[in-house]
């Protein structure tokens, strides 16, 4: 039903175009029909055109979504992500207390080696400053989502900008842009993030977000560039050029949209690594210094580490939350990647 002919104008993104072997099967297919377009074939083509007009065609994205809905991995991933987002949105309704408020009934029992555990009013007990740990966990969803999403969006925007310029112009522009990404890729991810944070005089929430974002810029840039360069030679771009579409419009309306699916998949996967990297920075003492901020990475990396021997729950809950959410984004991202892969289109 999703015969390629029924989807005119939609070219599959060719992720593996750089690899040897993908192009070798193509020659021979197109030449055969040239010059032999007999009456029978013409009739057949018209028939196909009519059939496709009736169905209205299925876009690549819709096709992918249809496949996603049937994939249990995608459903699990999407459910986790949905729960996480809902928790972030409705945090004020779900949390029984203010996450920044210190409670006297908690602080009075609080010592360096004793942090009060669960009680009926405080389901997960206290944090090291006498605040309600349960409420902080719920509000944590909000802050964690914020850090992950903003870092990913910044990384994605900068990466897409670089990648699009590179892929659209090619030649020496491409060369300079790619040497630039080489420099960023010359440092392993966390080390690059550490260097960036270290270069700021004081760390704040934004230095963390910025550092995590920058780490992902070259990845997005390379991905988009590869996909766009592969399209430069493809039939739909050639067709657009032949029709006299302006270069700018070819890039913006024909090449970029096709390349974006791969970028969006990568962004989903990046959300998970961004959250993990932010947690790592907090653990190294380079995180957000705001003690009122309830963010899982911060809770795990700072309090969880410091009080691991006193009250390991302070590490267990944020760690569990981070693992589940990272897993959710990874599952969803992998399922999306599988869904848009032309190899799996049935």
């Amino acid at each position: 039903m999703s015969d390629p002919i029924t989807r005119p104008g939609v070219a599959a993104p060719r992720d593996g175009a750089d690899q040897p072997g993908t192009d070798e099967r193509r020659p021979g297919m197109s030449e055969r029909g040239i010059g032999l377009l007999g009456e029978r074939k013409k009739a057949r083509l018209e028939e196909l055109a009519r059939a496709s007009a009736d169905k209205g065609g299925v876009s690549l994205v819709r096709d992918a979504i249809r496949r996603l809905r049937r994939n249990p991995v995608a459903i699990v991933g999407a459910s986790i992500v949905a729960l996480f987002v809902l928790m972030a949105i409705f945090a004020p309704l779900l949390a029984p207390h203010d996450p920044a408020q210190r409670f006297d009934e908690l602080t009075k029992n609080l010592t360096v080696d004793n942090i009060p555990g669960a009680s009926s009013e405080f389901p997960l007990g206290s944090d090291p400053l006498g605040r309600d740990f349960f409420s902080r966990m719920i509000y944590g969803a909000r802050q964690t989502l914020f850090v992950g999403v903003v870092a990913t969006l910044i990384g994605l925007s900068l990466g897409v900008l670089i990648g699009a310029i590179s892929g659209a112009f090619g030649g020496w522009v491409d060369n300079i842009m790619m040497r630039f990404t080489d420099v960023m890729l010359a440092l392993p991810a966390l080390l690059l993030a550490i260097s960036l944070v270290a270069m700021a005089s004081r760390s704040s929430q934004w230095t963390v977000i910025f550092a995590v974002a920058i780490v992902n810029v070259p990845i997005f840039a390379r991905l988009l560039r590869g996909s766009m360069l592969a399209q430069r030679e493809s039939d739909h771009v050639l067709a657009a050029r032949a029709l006299g579409v302006k270069q700018r419009n070819i890039v913006l309306r024909h090449m970029l949209p096709n390349a974006m699916t791969a970028v969006i998949v990568q962004a989903t996967l990046t959300l998970s690594t961004a959250i993990l990297e932010a947690a790592s920075l907090s653990f190294l003492g380079l995180g957000d210094p705001d003690i009122n901020r309830a963010e899982w990475g911060l809770m795990l990396g700072v309090d969880g580490q410091r009080y691991f021997e006193v009250r390991p729950e302070l590490a267990y809950y944020p760690a569990l939350a981070i693992i589940v959410v990272a897993l959710g984004f990874t599952l969803l991202g992998e399922a999306m990647r599988e869904a848009i892969d032309p190899k799996n289109r049935r």
């Binding site: 040897p20 040497r179 080489d182 420099v183 010359a186 440092l187 392993p188 991810a189 966390l190 080390l191 550490i194 260097s195 944070v197 270290a198 270069m199 005089s201 004081r202 998970s272 993990l276 947690a279 790592s280 653990f283 190294l284 003492g285 380079l286 990475g297 795990l300 990396g301 969880g304 580490q305 691991f308 021997e309 390991p312 590490a315 760690a319 981070i322 693992i323 990272a326 897993l327 990874t330 599952l331």
Partner: protein, 335 residues
């Protein structure tokens, strides 16, 4: 082949020079830069001016950079602000600790990862396969410093199988030759020191191996699955070749090509992970050095040398992997 190598080397040099220039310029134009780091916040203007002159910061930036590169190329990175020792010496002391840890982690990751990935592919769709997929997903989703604390808690607090931190037990006599404690013990025939060093290595190396292990299992599995569908494997089976021969010569030999590339990329994960792991186990390697150089007031000379060193190691390893790829796979060589 030679032309490819030369071109790659040139690219590598350009990348590293650009990185060094970037780091150099950046570090010198910071609020709270090296001058503040040396003098503290309440420095008088006179002392500041004196120090600026002494460090050569009043000269044009290009001159400063040229001098900096000149010193770097002779291995002189200046002195650590924190301890006053030469940076090269500070790094030299920490370097073997990290390399030893990373090597053992890599051995664990490859030694477990390739067989597991192979078995998973062979049991495609069955319990073992599903378990291994679940395991790899968990492996890349868990913050490894948390895993480190967990392992430490279980194996050193609850059951005392392993030592909680450090590279050697106190009281174990070890003569330093290379700085690689396992090797030193063997060289000086102090086998108890070797055993003790290995005993200390196990937990940190396991922690550090998590991510590379997960990635190697996944790639091996996917790659073996691809190869299993190839005609030549079916032919080999139809010919009635022995299982061991098919596995070794036909499947693994072809399937391991992508794995080699991934191993190169995992050097990055190892270097990043070492920073976290070393903090958990108080290891005293480059990772510990980075953390200390940042948290105890920014120790810029050490930091910039460490960043450059990490980039150098990472880039060179990846170049070597790319080149070795051409030697392992004849198809790449032709192109």
């Amino acid at each position: 082949m030679l032309r490819v190598i030369v071109r790659r080397l040139l690219q590598l040099a350009v990348t590293l020079i650009a990185l060094s220039a970037l780091i150099f310029v950046w570090l010198r134009n910071l609020p709270g830069g090296p001058i503040e780091a040396l003098l503290g916040e309440r420095a008088t203007p006179e002392r500041r001016a004196l120090l600026v002159k002494a460090l050569g910061y009043d000269q044009p930036i290009l001159v400063q950079y040229a001098k900096f590169m000149q010193r770097v190329l002779t291995g002189d990175f200046g002195n650590s602000i924190r301890t006053g020792d030469p940076v090269a010496e500070v790094i030299g002391r920490a370097f073997p600790a990290t390399i030893e840890l990373a090597l053992v982690a890599m051995i664990i990751a490859i030694g477990l990862g390739v067989p597991l990935g192979y078995l998973a592919a062979r049991h495609h769709g069955r319990l073992l396969d599903n378990l291994s997929i679940a395991g790899t997903l968990l492996g890349i989703s868990i913050p490894i410093f948390f895993l480190g604390y967990l392992l430490k808690d279980v194996f050193t607090q609850n059951i005392h199988w392993f030592p909680p931190s450090g590279r050697l037990s106190t009281g174990v006599d070890n003569t330093e030759v290379t700085g690689f404690f396992v090797l030193d013990g063997l060289l000086t025939r102090e086998f108890d020191a070797t055993a003790d060093a290995l005993w200390h290595l196990i937990l940190p190396a396991l922690t550090l191996a998590t991510i590379p292990l997960a990635v190697i299992v996944r790639i091996t599995r996917a790659s073996v699955l691809d190869v299993l569908n190839e005609d030549y494997v079916r032919t080999a089976e139809a010919k009635g070749l022995r299982h061991r021969v098919i596995r070794g010569r036909h499947i693994l030999r072809n399937a391991l090509l992508p794995v080699v590339t991934i191993i190169g990329l995992q050097t990055g994960a190892l270097l990043s992970g070492a920073v976290l792991t070393e903090k958990v186990y108080n290891w005293g390697g480059l990772g510990t050095l980075i953390t200390d150089s940042i948290s105890g007031g920014r120790d810029y000379p050490v930091l910039q040398a460490l960043i450059l060193l990490a980039a150098l190691v990472f880039v060179v390893v990846n170049l070597l992997v790319d080149l070795s790829y051409a030697f392992i796979d004849p198809r790449v060589r032709v192109r």
